[in-house]
Symmetry: D2
Subunit: 144 residues, 4 copies
């Protein structure tokens, strides 16, 4: 199994006056898990940016199922669902690390832009071939 589950504990400053994690933070948790996942597959954001390639979010969504709380340990599962060279999509699950209970789900899509070429869209295969290969190889291993 290539993919290590991403674990993190809820911080105090991520709660709001309802006493739960503010929903906007799930989008940040998704990013953390995606960054870890891409790193692990060899197509990390830090690496891409050394080639001037950024991969901004084009759309995202989240469904809240059960509130999460300060000091709760969470697992954020991040699964690559689609990749066609110019666009990459992920799905997420936020789980209680102890009980396995599902707390939230989400999705995000990303394009690739070349900051050295006026932020125009680019194909990863052309701009960072080794990252492209890493993604394809990961998809094959994972049966995606």
């Amino acid at each position: 199994m290539l993919h290590t589950p991403y674990r993190r504990v809820v911080n105090y400053y991520e709660t709001d006056m309802m006493g739960w994690v503010h929903h906007s933070n799930y989008i940040r948790y998704f990013e953390e898990a995606r960054v870890a996942n891409l790193d692990e597959m060899g197509a990390g954001q830090a690496k891409l940016e050394t080639f001037g390639i950024i991969s901004p979010v084009t759309d995202f969504s989240c469904v809240n199922i059960k509130p999460t709380r300060f000091a709760q340990e969470l697992i954020i599962e991040c699964r690559l669902t689609k990749y066609n060279g110019v666009r990459i999509c992920f799905e997420y699950e936020v789980l209680d690390a102890t009980t396995g209970e599902l707390c939230a789900t989400g999705k995000s899509s990303h394009c690739f832009l070349n900051t050295n070429n006026n932020h125009k869209p680019t194909a990863l295969q052309k701009s960072v071939p080794e990252a492209h290969e890493a993604v394809l190889s990961y998809m094959e291993k994972m049966g995606i």
Copy 2:
């Protein structure tokens, strides 16, 4: 016209290393506009919470169309789209305040929970009748 457009300037701390607003902040901008909108219609969150009623987000989504930048003035349009007493839904548009250009769109859905009754779902009509009436009256005026 009942609804005043919600204006706000992008803060420095809301940008990320891409040089644009981090996408998670749009969810916070949506909240700001929704809070202002609900206040204006007489069903504000501060008021609801004096009755022990909270209205957490059950799901939300966002589509990024054009990056926004530090010091850019934005208008965040928030439109109530559905309300059935136990659930309320909104749509959002983030526009450049100068050019009117569309930068992002979004949606959110919310339920009502009674913190004085074990956080169980509640109908607004029952728990805060005047807020329920205010929403209905707003919908009628706006032709929703």
Copy 3:
């Protein structure tokens, strides 16, 4: 009077589970007020950055006097206290906009770095003379 007080309402997402504004947000409020203040004096951050000059915070502090709450309207007073060409210092007061009650105070210091010269420290007089003049002129008017 040159300086317009900076007003802003506390957002829901800025509260934490204590029910008050999370203290880290005051540092962000200070930044908002400072940005507005520098803009008004003609030495705005957006302008500086067109010359490749950034002014990162070198140190900052905050004293919390009275908790602030969701939907509370605040005035954040920002006063330039020192400027010697290579360093600029500010003091802040967070006040309830209705009662004038003092809720927090703070300080920050900033240097100037030239992103076109390996992020080396720079004198504003040399790198953006008109901003330097604007600051001096402001200090004279304000009797600093």
Copy 4:
């Protein structure tokens, strides 16, 4: 040695358009390290709050020494410096986890308030005696 160093990687959303961590986030890193430290000594925030005791920040400060970046692994050292039963103080160091280089330092002070008694100040010895003992025992072990 009682105290495990607190490690964490810089998140993308914590950077700003300068390309570095936004300074306000250090206050959040301090909190994360303090929460871990208090947990380890048996006087954790989660525990205190079960007794209705909160420990808000009364003042804090930070000195930035060297910018930190996305994906950088940091150690945040948190040291209890003073405790007199009604007030607790900490100092912090943010270090690069690889090189040990010092990136920032900070301080914070906290009081104890009883949410079951109108948020009045309280002595920890009276409100949560076992947490008081845990802090004293920790101070003895650490030679503070």
